[in-house]
Symmetry: C2
Subunit: 167 residues, 2 copies
């Protein structure tokens, strides 16, 4: 959609636009995770990021299924939000000069990513239901549940071990 | 902190950096909300944004109190994440050509902002406690509770009225 055109005229247009936004975001996350895996020192955190990378590939496929169910082209649109969140993650981790503090920073960055996804999936599910697309909502709900589980797992790692090691 | 220097050597450095990140973010939100208030058509949504603007001013003051308690300069650092989230909010709302659909888009954008704040405050509270700064944690907790309450209020407005009006 163009920067200066008003292409979103209906709730359905808004739904498709936001679906393309999260599709772009998930694909950017697939590209960003390998560097986070490399940077992590805590073994469980590294493995958690690896599992989440596999999970994200499946989430991308689920989104492609949602596009197909809804009868629209599978494509992404620029998403300055995820670009900014990932840019900040990269910037902060580049400034940290201690492995344990870096692990704490990586968890915080990953949780910012998770929260972005949680809010977008929450919105998309509500809109899908409003549009009578319970089939799409059910697939999006699976992604949402995985993001929420990942966010909780990151909180648990931070609070049981990583923050104490960093402090 | 510099882009190519490694200035974050301790958990305390990371805490202060992230405090400056959310301080910058809250100040950007203060600047962005008046336009969202202008754009909203639904009266309760407009009033909700107005209340949240007042609340955000108080949150900025609480953050200044946290800086003082912790004995560091009150200042912000660039936060590409919130810049990206607000840029996306502006971009999407500029593409919507229907007042009711715009209200739904504004709620989604505001919830992306709230979720960014929720994740940052959650992290900062955990780190403050780890660093023995329960006084700072208590103030940050007040901001977190307000953001969570705002996020819930936005969900409620969307689900009880705004999404149905848009669809």
């Amino acid at each position: 959609m163009g920067f200066f055109s008003k292409d979103i005229k209906t709730m359905d247009d808004l739904f498709v636009h936001t679906l393309r936004d999260i599709y772009y975001a998930e694909n950017q996350i697939v590209k960003a995770l390998p560097e986070m895996i490399d940077k992590a020192t805590d073994q469980a955190l590294k493995e958690g990021f690896e599992r989440h990378l596999q999970e994200t590939h499946v989430q991308v496929e689920r989104l492609e299924e949602v596009f197909k169910l809804h009868g629209v082209d599978v494509k992404g649109v620029n998403c300055p939000a995820i670009d900014g969140i990932l840019e900040e993650a990269d910037e902060v981790s580049g400034e940290v000069d201690n492995d344990q503090v870096l692990d704490a920073a990586l968890i915080a960055s990953a949780q910012a990513v998770e929260h972005y996804e949680i809010t977008r999936y929450g919105t998309l599910i509500a809109w899908a239901k409003q549009l009578g697309r319970n089939d799409c909502a059910a697939l999006l709900e699976k992604n949402l549940q995985e993001e929420m589980k990942t966010d909780k797992a990151l909180t648990s790692m931070a609070q049981t071990r990583v923050n104490a090691a960093a402090a």
